[in-house]
């Protein structure tokens, strides 16, 4: 058989895994495709209604629906990359029969699928925003994109780390649902941190996801800023998780393959 270099092997493995994951996501008869794209709209609808009923829509600083769309897109990307990564070793065990498929490839491919879905959702939002004439003007597109990119790396690193742990500690995949719900309420998804009392703000400082979301909407809206965000803290989390995740993975790769 013709020898291929390792990058070429990596590309064909990613190509095969990516297409496989996509077709599995969307061919499953459980309305997979519908829920994937409907979920963010549902979330936004619920929170817009809550706000209208409880707080009567008076602020008018920026468009609350756009604010929610942006935050839920970022948070869902994070959540889905992590949750899909955790299960990916077990779900793809049969594939480790093929020598070129390394466990980390399956995490990578799942993260790529989530990015692809996120991109489609962003396009749908932009299209709907233009059609219904929402105010979607961006203060600093470069920094918003940078926020998304670093959050992507953070999510991948966190997902990989938990995926490795999950091979040896079964309970992680069961607890992650609660954990993500708790995170959603403490990560500035449907509020901006500056609207909170100072004591709460000080606690939320320790939540890296809240930092990410503050960065993203701080650079999106003219009325908001990034004064809450600690960039050292974001980078510390991202790089440490990436380092620990990769280190654990390389130590345990062979055990994951034959587990």
């Amino acid at each position: 058989m013709k020898k291929r270099n390792s990058f070429k092997i990596f590309l064909s493995v990613q190509n095969a895994l990516f297409l496989r994951e996509l077709s599995m996501r969307f061919s499953s008869g459980r309305m997979g495709i519908f829920w994937t794209f409907f979920e963010p709209f549902f979330q936004i609808l619920v929170f817009v209604l809550i706000k209208m009923v409880l707080f009567s829509r008076g602020e008018g600083d920026f468009d609350f629906a756009v604010f929610l769309a942006l935050n839920f897109t970022a948070f869902n990307m994070f959540k889905n990359i992590v949750i899909k990564s955790i299960a990916s070793f077990k779900a793809n065990k049969a594939l480790f029969l093929y020598k070129q498929v390394k466990p980390i490839d399956t995490v990578f491919a799942r993260a790529l699928v989530e990015l692809f879905i996120t991109a489609i959702i962003i396009l749908i939002f932009i299209f709907l925003g233009l059609y219904f004439d929402f105010d979607m003007e961006v203060k600093d597109l470069t920094m918003v994109s940078l926020g998304f990119i670093v959050l992507m790396i953070f999510s991948f690193a966190f997902g990989l780390f938990l995926a490795v742990l999950n091979v040896f500690l079964d309970s992680i995949s069961k607890l992650i649902g609660f954990f993500m719900t708790a995170l959603m309420f403490t990560s500035a998804v449907f509020y901006s941190v500056e609207a909170l009392p100072l004591e709460l703000q000080n606690i939320l400082h320790y939540n890296p996801v809240a930092n990410f979301l503050e960065m993203i909407h701080g650079f999106y809206f003219f009325k908001l800023d990034d004064s809450f965000v600690s960039y050292e803290y974001i980078l510390l989390w991202t790089l440490s998780l990436l380092y620990i995740g990769l280190w654990l993975y390389t130590k345990l790769e062979k055990r994951i393959i034959s587990s």
Binding site: A94, Y98, K99, Q100, I257, S258
Partner: protein
């Protein structure tokens, strides 16, 4: 050539470590079809998977510059909720085949495996015989240095067995096999050398008949 250097492999059980190989050093020469013999539970399949580098020794190393197929066995290595066709496509993509080659492979595998309508149905509806027919047919479309075969030749009806054996005989003109089997006739037909796995050791025999005699002697103990 496959080189084993101080290889140990064990499984942890309730009664301590159970060794499959203990500090084994051995070189298997190239250009031979190797039969793997041993009693049930001695670790033949595990050793075959280690030689094919999808399982790893606990100590020592196994080295080879050859390419190995996935193990062709009853489990198949397929994804249950994808169709046979989708699985064939997936494996072709893993090995970097072009779309044109993929179409060709699909036509070949569909015809060879005789799955007819099942080819477009999810793998989970297949019997184990059907899975290994698909797996075997698919493996014929790749040019590996070694095919890893685990008992698959004994599945299917007599007609399919004959056909797959014929296809394999033709295939081994250009590649070699590592074959795990309990069927001495098959081993004699296909393999020219053999290894016998017993008590944590591998013994290599340059003549498959000698390996078979050794295996029979072990069985009488």
């Amino acid at each position: 050539m496959i080189e084993l250097k101080n290889v140990s492999k064990y499984f942890r059980t309730k009664h301590g470590k159970k060794y499959i190989l203990k500090d084994m050093t051995l070189t298997l020469p190239s250009k031979h079809n190797i039969g793997i013999l041993g009693r049930n539970g001695t670790g033949k399949s595990t050793i075959m998977r280690m030689l094919g580098q999808i399982e790893f020794p606990d100590r020592g190393s196994i080295m080879s510059d050859k390419s190995f197929s996935w193990p062709l066995g009853l489990s198949g290595g397929f994804v249950g909720n994808m169709t046979g066709k989708a699985n064939v496509k997936f494996v072709c993509r893993l090995y970097g085949k072009s779309e044109e080659e993929i179409d060709k492979t699909i036509r070949f595998v569909k015809e060879f495996s005789e799955l007819d309508d099942y080819f477009d149905m999810p793998i989970k509806t297949y019997s184990s015989g059907m899975k290994s027919r698909l797996s075997f047919g698919l493996s014929l479309s790749f040019d590996f240095d070694y095919l890893l075969i685990d008992e698959t030749l004994s599945v299917g009806d007599a007609k399919f067995r004959k056909k797959s054996k014929k296809a394999l005989m033709k295939k081994i003109e250009t590649c070699n096999v590592l074959l795990v089997s309990h069927d001495m006739g098959t081993l004699r037909d296909i393999c020219d050398v053999g290894i016998v796995v017993h008590n944590g050791k591998i013994r290599y025999f340059e003549d498959i008949n000698k390996a078979i005699n050794e295996y029979i002697a072990i069985n009488k103990q």
